[in-house]
């Protein structure tokens, strides 16, 4: 494996397949897309198997100068590895989900999805600042087109909103990047991660990056593009949007904001925490009153991603590893939930919750899988999301008990809106004849959901497989952050039992 440019190959295969799709018919395009994404999945597995845990920080490094300082520089650490795995895992599922749902302009559609895969893997693997920027921002284009061309009735407004928000953030980030390159003279991300910028400069750069990442995350109050984008996007578009594109913001914080600007990160923790705590409560309450299934899940995504930001800015191992686990878990679970919505949307062509009901009777297998993903979304122990939320909040508790308490209320509200959704769709009596006539999962649909279910349980019961690759990277990041680490609000003062206040001091049970 020493010299095999596996990352470039993983980029090249979907890119070539995308071009091939454009020259193929609808059926051929489907098979090409499925084949290419499956090959990438296999390559992803190879990548995981040959990743040397505890070895060099950057592995599978490739470097080809293009012009000037701009280079084709690729390489991954544990964080990038896991997010690449998430991308290549969800991609064949997306193609499968679009198999029958998409009937118009199939070749173009498949080509765009393959193109998205290239850009996602590229974003996580890029080691050159501008290469990263191109991958990161270009990710907008296919998603924008997917929503705008194959989307629902109000797709133009949704894609406009999606575009406007993300563009605005990225312009500021671009300016910051140019400044960084001009002052340091390097475009290498690993080198920049070791660079100490002056504290006052850090703040500005941090804010510029924050503008971009906060939108991508999305954080409150720049989250309003997400519900619209999800509602209008086709099912597979929602899966990729929730599954991978929302992780770009978190990855950005992890790769840029935290290691490059530690002082600024520590200084602005309050901002991240405040926005996150507001997001959890605000969006959970909004999710509670939604009548559109996709909107409900979209709002719940905002709440979950707020747990990610809280964990990342906890400045400790539990927080950061937990945030990563939430990203992976949420990617799988919300992707699966959108697939679940897609399954019944394909049958009845409505997202109105009230049009369904009693599906447990005519779709029992669907009911079981939907229940599993609902419970995972609620963060039930034994599922992926629990591990992440627990660690992220445990990390956050060491910094701020108040913020942790506010964010932990999400487990109550989350249970309320998800179970209420499930009850209205799956339980109850069959009140709509057309919903009652829907057939259970087809074999294709079952095999889209079953692999996700398996991984969700795997991550919940034995998360070590996923925690191990990133352990060393977290430690490296924490070494970098150590000098700026904020003090928690819950520090313990060892007390002398004799000196404690009288009412605490009385040994209990005087009458012993």
């Amino acid at each position: 494996m020493e010299h095999f440019p596996i990352l470039s190959v993983m980029l090249l295969i979907p890119a070539a397949a995308a071009v091939a799709c454009l020259f193929a018919g609808a059926t051929a395009a489907r098979w090409i897309a499925l084949g290419a994404t499956l090959v990438d999945l296999v390559l992803g597995a190879v990548l995981w198997a040959s990743f040397d845990i505890g070895g060099a920080q950057w592995q599978f490094v490739e470097y080809v100068p293009i012009f000037g300082r701009f280079a084709w520089a690729l390489g991954i650490d544990g964080f990038a590895l896991l997010l690449i795995l998430l991308s290549v895992f969800l991609m064949p599922i997306c193609i499968g989900a679009s198999w029958k749902a998409i009937t118009t302009r199939v070749p173009e559609y498949m080509a765009l999805f393959l193109f998205t895969e290239v850009l996602m893997i590229g974003t996580f693997a890029a080691q050159d600042l501008f290469l990263f920027y191109i991958f990161f921002e270009a990710g907008l284009i296919p998603m924008y087109l997917i929503i705008g061309v194959w989307g629902g009735a109000n797709r133009i407004y949704a894609s406009y909103k999606f575009f406007l928000y993300t563009l605005l953030g990225s312009v500021l980030m671009l300016i910051a990047m140019i400044y960084m390159v001009m002052t340091t003279g390097t475009t290498s991300i690993p080198e920049l991660m070791q660079t100490d910028f002056p504290a006052h400069v850090q703040t500005w750069l941090w804010l510029a990056f924050f503008a971009s990442f906060a939108v991508k995350m999305p954080m409150w109050p720049v989250h309003t593009w997400l519900p619209d984008a999800h509602v209008q996007a086709p099912t597979a578009g929602s899966v990729i949007l929730a599954g991978v594109l929302l992780k770009l913001g978190g990855y950005g914080f992890l790769r840029f904001s935290l290691p490059m600007f530690p002082e600024a990160s520590a200084q602005l923790v309050w901002l991240v925490f405040a926005l996150s705590a507001v997001a959890v409560i605000y969006t959970s309450l909004v999710a509670l009153v939604q009548s559109d299934m996709k909107k409900l899940i979209a709002y719940s995504s905002v709440a979950h991603m707020a747990i990610v930001t809280v964990g990342l800015f906890a400045f400790n191992q539990q927080g950061i590893e937990g945030a990563m686990m939430v990203m992976l878990g949420h990617g799988l679970v919300s992707g699966a939930l959108f697939l679940c919505v897609g399954v019944i949307y394909d049958r009845l062509h409505t997202r109105e919750i009230d049009r369904y009901g009693g599906l447990a009777i005519n779709m029992p297998r669907y009911a079981v899988l939907f229940l599993l993903f609902t419970m995972a979304s609620v963060g039930l122990p034994g599922t992926s999301n629990f591990v992440g939320e627990l660690l992220a909040l445990m990390g956050a508790y060491q910094v701020s008990t108040l913020i942790t308490l506010l964010c932990t209320t999400g487990i109550i509200l989350g249970a309320a809106y998800m179970l209420w959704l499930y009850r209205r769709v799956v339980f109850g009596d069959q009140k709509n004849a057309d919903a009652a006539a829907m057939p259970d999962l087809s074999l294709r649909e079952f095999w889209l959901l079953a692999p996700i279910a398996a991984v969700v349980l795997w991550m919940g019961v034995y998360p070590e497989s996923f925690l191990a690759p990133m352990r060393q990277d977290t430690v490296i990041l924490l070494e970098r952050l150590d000098r700026a680490k904020p003090a928690g609000d819950s520090l313990r003062t060892p007390g002398n039992p004799a000196a404690a206040p009288a009412h605490e001091d009385v040994a209990h049970g005087e009458a012993h």
Partner: protein, 688 residues
Amino acid sequence: MQAIHFIIALPLLAFIVAGLSNRAFGIAFPKLVTTGALFIACALSWSIFIPFLTGGGSESVAPVFTWIESGKLDVSWGLRVDALTAVMLVVITSVSALVHLYSWGYMSEDPDQPRFFAYLSLFTFAMLMLVTADNLLQMFFGWEGVGLASYLLIGFWFKKPSANAAAIKAFVVNRVGDLGFMMGIFGTFLVFGTISIPAILEAAPGMAGSTIGFLGMRIDTMTLLCILLFIGAMGKSAQLGLHTWLPDAMEGPTPVSALIHAATMVTAGVFMVCRLSPMFETSHAAMTFITAIGAATCFFAATVGVVQTDIKRVIAYSTCSQLGYMFFAAGVGMYGAAMFHLFTHAFFKALLFLGAGSVIHAMHHEQDMRYYGGLRKKIPVTYWTMMAGTLAITGVGIPGSLFGFFNIGFAGFHSKDAIIEAAYAAGATPAFWVGVFVALLTSFYSWRLVFLTFHGKPRWAGSEHIQHAVHDAHGHHDHPAEEDAGHEPDPHGATHDEVTDGTGGYHPHESPAVMLIPLLVLTIGAVFAGFVFHSYFIEADGNFWNGSLFFDEHLAHAMHEVPVWVKLSATVAMLIGLLIGWLAYIRNPAFPAKAAETFSVLHTFLLRKWYFDELYNVVFVKPALWIGRVLWKGGDEGTIDRLGPNGLAWAIQRGSGIASRLQSGYVYTYAFVMLIGLTAAITWVITR
């Protein structure tokens, strides 16, 4: 592989096999698999428990594999066995096995039986994970697992709106408690750097007296942690404030109520406090809090139980009240007594619930006691077994030790009296008086249940369920989903029925043997569990517990030294309750209605369960929905969008007059070209 591995794995495998096969191999296969697995697990559990009685048991932890490792946090799946766990193992597997068997009869007409048995086994697995936990996180896993099973089983008849509402309520209210539990776990990890239970218990005394920051305040460390964890226990064990889900949980099938909402799951909170007892011992404030909550719940639930007319709800409030007893026993420091009552209660309360199920079965799913009466002769086995349960819960016995003899009585006599004596001995006078008074109420509502159901004249004719059954002439049997008490017809309706003997022409039948055998087995527990085991559970030297919970020998001795009137108080209260019950329901059956009329305000207050549901609805549920709508319409759409993207679009349209292009989407294409161009240009500038 040790026995404990099998005990845990069997219910899990049974759940998976039964769940996956469902109806594929017929309906009997999943029933056989789950019931068989549980009986084997039960036998293995007793084989673990008995050596602890004879002094041959020893503490062990069987590791399974790593769960979560992150920095200092190192959590593994593991199966801990000690005296405390062994007690829980026999309680869980015995009741579960019997409930599995009982369900063969009770659920026999339900087409979804495989799913039902799978859920029961899933519950058993989760509960066993909870009690074998060696760290707080695995306990939380079991904690949430039983919550899931409870949710699924309460909502088992998922077509019923009331069952669905009750299921969601149970889950969400429990989550409020879980918030406390999770915060407690976070705090524990912060303070101790570990969440391994033995490590915490060892380090806890060293933390006494220290303070910690919490929400900007400074609080005694151990008090904070104990109260946070106890909030979790309050949710699971339905203590005052977080109790509202338990009565509603009666929407589930009756075997579920017996297993989950009486004998096992709801006692998880008591178990947790006992498991962590050395930790709770370090905070006097937390102990006082537990005593107060326990006593308050004990009193509250008993008062509500006195006026309920639904047979299952009476028993549900009774459970809530008995859990209060267990908590205040723990709160005053007599954990052995708390566990003892947990143990005996599991048998007699499961018996009462299964007995009630048998009555409901006989009465064609009628649950309203106002339509019962005179069933003694019709279903004699049910009557006598429930009588044993009633004698056990009310605490009938002879305090022989006063006369130099030994105490002899039914299960509750030993365990409840021990709690009341412990409260007195520990100086918790208010809790003591609450305990005595509630003993009176317990006796009253329990005998009221027996008198209304089995004695007097039949009042069946007024029941819609019975009318249904008679009109259908037993032509077809209703699905148990009909089991609801939502309708409340006029209780005096029976009088103007044509059939003058009040039976409405209905003939109740005794339940089949599969239902009666579990009743008889549990009767043995209800009669003998107290007498046989009291020397182990609350013995003065604490040898049985062997350090698995905090045992205060001084308190144990002091319990035996309490004055004679204290020892007699519970028995006297019980007799007064019985007397009032007899006077009101046998001697003068018109009295209760008159009393309800005279004290109508109080009666309504109790009937409405102190208005907790109404209060929560106004304070939490409605505002949450209202705020959600305001944030959505006013916040997201009215403010953020209006000032953000929509405002920008408006400005662009005004400024450049490219409205048509905006609509057609050209503007984005343009912007993308611009963006890419910008990137290329800048790249070139920098790198040249």
